[in-house]
Symmetry: C2
Subunit: 214 residues, 2 copies
DNA sequence: TAGATTGTTAATCGATTAACAATC
DNA sequence: TAGATTGTTAATCGATTAACAATC
């Protein structure tokens, strides 16, 4: 397998989807698939699929196609699904709690190890068998555990202070649900943003625009 | 203002961000801004900003720049922020409840009018002053209210049945948190997907890849 | 009027699609 | 060997960036 870097964001963003579809095919007992069959199912072009996979080296065989199980494993390995990176949640409000409860971290390459909040009233609360800790305990916690990543479900106003503290503790990767722009202050941090507000407004645009088109 | 259609997805996805930044500038009491000042703040190029705005017609003035309040209002209007589309939530699990409580729908162009679930035990539960209704009441409800959109916080397996029912009730726009591919079955539906699982796996890829680069 | 900055056209860059030779 | 389908190169398409004339 090639160990290429500089893979474009567009390609990377398709990897989880490939992984998911291949899992479904596997569940259906399908052993092999061609790029054109897969393209039909996923709504992509066969060309794009072959291009995407070849960024990481050849996973297929001419005249045969791709072995579903093998391909899925390869993509999983590229993503790093088997690392189970230690991750903590910072901000145990509505959204934070739901994220902790709703997602199957173990299947997505992570292990949720701690939940923090700065609201005394939430400290001790049990979420998925993890007791909420006060954010002031973060130093002590990180000396023992050293998480790789943090989920930020905090208000934008707390963004800089909290992130700065976490980076100090050795955490460099962030799943960011706030509007705080991490990379502006910390250009080296690895950041995946989820901007729900923007997403909702995009839906609004599309409704407005489709009505205007009538 | 031009009433252009066929605006590219890339441009549309930047509109909420423009709107947000302009709101911040307004709060800071800034009256006018040039494309190059705005590009500095937002991490875009001045060229892109001018191109983006000009898809919708000229909002600026040569030699002056853009009036912040005016520009913000124009973009808000393009998005349709002032429509307050009626929206319902389907699926009152952890994630659904958090979405209902966490977001300020009114500021994003919507009004949350109903919450539905098919789990009897959740019926009657109060979330943000809305009592959860059983999904079997959806017909009756929609005859009175006619929502424009639905938030889907349901398992993928329920996707087709639920969506089909909602479309039957006249709902054509979806904020979709499930992995169910709405447009495959209903190509005309307006869909905004939020795939948290894929987002988390993308973070995983970026961590794995940055480590490999060391 | 001179300076600033837009609106818009042209150039560049990157991603997607098409084509086909290599090969299982 | 013949058929199928990949891996890969070339063509196309679209989005971003640069340049500059228009104009406030």
């Amino acid at each position: 397998m090639k160990n290429e870097h500089n893979i474009s964001k567009s390609v990377i963003s398709r990897l989880p989807r490939y992984y998911r579809f291949l899992g479904m095919l596997l569940d259906e007992g399908i052993e092999r698939i061609s790029s054109s069959e897969l393209s039909d199912k996923m709504g992509l072009t066969a060309s794009q699929i072959r291009q995407d996979f070849n960024h990481f080296g050849g996973f297929g065989q001419q005249g045969y196609g791709y072995n579903v199980a093998q391909l899925r494993q390869n993509i999983g390995h590229i993503i790093g699904i088997d690392h189970y990176y230690k991750i903590i949640l910072v901000g145990a409000g509505n959204l934070g709690r739901a994220i902790a409860q709703h997602l199957d971290f173990h299947k997505k390459g992570f292990e949720l190890d701690g939940i923090f909040d700065s609201d005394e009233r939430l400290v001790g609360l049990d979420i998925n068998n993890l007791a909420v800790r006060h954010f002031s305990d973060i130093d002590t916690f990180c000396k023992n555990i050293t998480p790789a990543a943090a989920i930020l479900c905090i208000p934008e106003s707390a963004g800089k202070e909290v992130t700065s503290k976490l980076i100090e503790c050795g955490i460099n990767s962030f799943w960011n649900f706030s509007h705080y722009n991490i990379n502006e202050d910390f250009p080296d941090a690895i950041v995946e943003n989820v901007h729900l507000n923007d997403s909702l407004m995009t839906l609004c645009y599309n409704i407005t625009n489709s009505e205007a088109a009538k």
